[in-house]
Amino acid sequence: MKEKRLYLRNEEEKFEGTAYARQVVRDIRFSTDARDFGYIAENIPCQDACPVYTNIPGYIRCIFENRNGRSYELNRMVNILPGVLGRICSRPCEARCRHGESDLGEPVKICHLKRAAADHKHAGHRISENLFAPSGKTVAVIGSGPSGLGAAHDLAALGHKVALYESMPRPGGMLMYGIPEFRLPRDLLMLEISNILRLGVDLHSGVAAGRDISLKDLLKKYDAVVLTTGTLSPNDLGIPGESLPGVLSGLDFMMRVNQGETPDVGERVAIIGDGFTAMDCARTCMRFGAREVTVNIRKTEEFMPVDEHEIFEAKFEKVKIIGLVNSVRILGKDRVEGIVFERNRLEFSRTGAGRDTVPIGNSEFEVPCDTVIAAIGQNPATDFNDVKFKLDGHRIFTKNGTHATSVKNLFAAGDCNTGASTVIASIAQGRGCAHEVDALFAGRKRKTMLVRFEPAEQTDRQRAWDFIPPVPMPAADRSERLADYRNEVEQGFTPEQALEESKRCYLCYLKYEINVDRCIYCFACIDVAPRDCIKMIHDVAIKPSGAYGDFMQTRDWTDVRAIAIDNKRCIRCGKCYEVCPTQCIHIIKTELIEQDLEA
């Protein structure tokens, strides 16, 4: 659909928030206007990219002000495990950080700063929770991974009695049994989990639904049941030789290691796969005495679903990544002796952006090895014997845009519903599901998202801070890493390093806006602007979604309706604010917040 033109011209239109050139915010104000949500999505890109919409500039500013406890709480409001995510998050926010735009340098180390707030908050830090009155309703959550913990936390806070069933001895799901200890210390994980259990969540560990307790009984006993059972069924390679001793599944391997085993992997290990599991297996093998570890991927590093940083750390530990190969067969008589690969070439996929791999004829080659680890993805285990629900491929089917399965009062969230994803996406899923269950019990929504506006002052950010290079994360040296599987690799920022990194954030939640009524078109702001951030426009388009569209620029004086700041280009340097002779530039703190509807 074409953009519906016109925003400035439509003077009759009612609107709630602030907006380009139309209304100046002089006090705190809330909005549910689609334009304002659209504004947030485009203008605070890091927050928009975060599945739980963390107020990133807000918490980074708190670190700058040495308010680490407040920073931690800003995280915890939406992300129940800040210390954990500060270590192992997949960081979709950093990929969209404005500081990483092509002429602006590198993204802010958002994730390292999250960890810094968790590490440096006061030893006696008190967490805060908004607790609703008890509802008398009961919910069973099956699986205590990030999605189960997210669901249990929000359900408990909303006043419902939660029983959390977990088949393994300890809670945490893949945080406890997948991710290696050298990336995530278990005492920290248990501390943050216990902050959730404290809300009155009853943990039943070592109890598997469908095996030790029937799902049918659970559905009878509780007002609702939420399945957050993850993806625990690894995919097979489907090639000859797969059943030879020495061929392992990556997920099983990591789960064994994280339960205290030290498997003998020999000297040479070939790992097949390109995700988190493959990289963790490779780095773990290095710690168990392997000398030559290769991660063999079908495409190239550019298409790996793990972030650059993960790749760097693996290479630092001397793991080799071999691109453009396909496994063909595994060799060996009584156990693995080698593996045959063939080379691939890349082709544009039919859908556009991605790539397909095409094997190159007569390109097979052999690599000797002692262990082969297949880490090529996993699927949910969905057989609960007595209750049958609809599936969507291998995943649990849920009704369009909801968490409701095909069985009444049975919900699903996290990887078992979406397929393998990430920790933060799973937390968002679990929390979203909790609110859906709550709405079912209450008969209405009790929480909602709002855009909050507050007039703000020019900050003390200096232009020189825009040129500070990213602060590198201090890390253990190689020998220390390899000495013990549990030695944490990343050491965390010192308070000084965190302060330095926090200075780099532009604070995109500040909105710079020109009040047209007072603008005298002197152009002083355009003269000092560091980029093409201030524009002469004749209108602002409105998108079909109701959000603001593009600025319609003009050079024809008779057509100029405003000089406006394009906050998508603005780096919040404040130069325009400082030079404006009529002080017609306003700064408005613009935040996306979660609000109790009954508060």
């Binding site: 092509s102 190239t300 630092f316 453009l324 390109s363 080659f365």
Partner: protein, 340 residues
Amino acid sequence: MPKNDHYVIIGNGPAGNAAADTLRASDKLARISIISDEMFTFYYRHRLPEFLTGALDADALTVRPYTVYKDNNVRMRLGQCVERIDPADKTLYLKHMEKVHYTKLLIATGGRAFTPPHLAPFRDSLCFMTRYTDALQLKPRIQDAQSILILGGDLISLNVQQQLLKAKKTVYFALNPDSFWPLKLTPEMAARIQKSLEKKGVASCVAGDIQDIACKKNGKLEVTLDSKCAFTVDLVGCFMGLTPNIEFILGSGIDTERGVLVDDRLRTNFPDVYACGDCAQIYNPALKDYWVSVGWHNAELQGRTAALNILGDTKVIKPLKQGVLEVEGLKVNTSWWKKF
């Protein structure tokens, strides 16, 4: 009638220059631009070690003077770095915020010294040399230094070591046993190189990888190898092979692995974008592997071939007849490295 073609070549090395010459020979009218982030005109990289020790002066490095480009009507843009390519829009974005449009693009950006990731923490203590400016900066430090440790992982390290010996420096050599470009060294081969180097005057040649580099108060560097050998030296030079200059291409949609992926006609996955020389990676059916060929000879040949294909030909890069190179008592089969 003037044509509207604009052939843009990124890189002013042998590959880029061979391509420009070939393009101009066949197309007298088209606009041809070479963009290079170096300030120096086309020069012999293999002479840098001699320049470094003072055996040659800067003039001896130059392949051809600037006037040649004027005569050939090739626009040479020196000191300009390409920061991003938009192949859909056929536009290059230069670091100084200029946009350059092309009709055909040749990426010939070569390589630079590779730092193995596990040596990254010691980067500040290591010296590298792939460009004229590297050599220029290093020159006074070499003059002041008495003892130098070379981390030897490629043929260039041997060349540098030779020149340092000629300049009467005390040279130590740590041979990288895991990867010595372009060979995979067996313990016997490593032992032969070690013996040969020591015979020629290298103070000590051992096989091993860096474990630690500590900077001492007197400015000297104490280097410990994993074989527990330790050296105290003034400088440590790192020569562990070259890595293609492709960072600016990542995210553009042009496929890369170690280098820019091209077919045997040097075409990338985008029409009208080609790559050649030290930055290009090609599948080699004889080796059953993708290969980045490093060397002057290879760069020139690929530059010419790419240019012909840009002009509409369908020339295929064939594996060259292998030549034999003598390296410290070993025979190395190579077709791409030129013995000067």
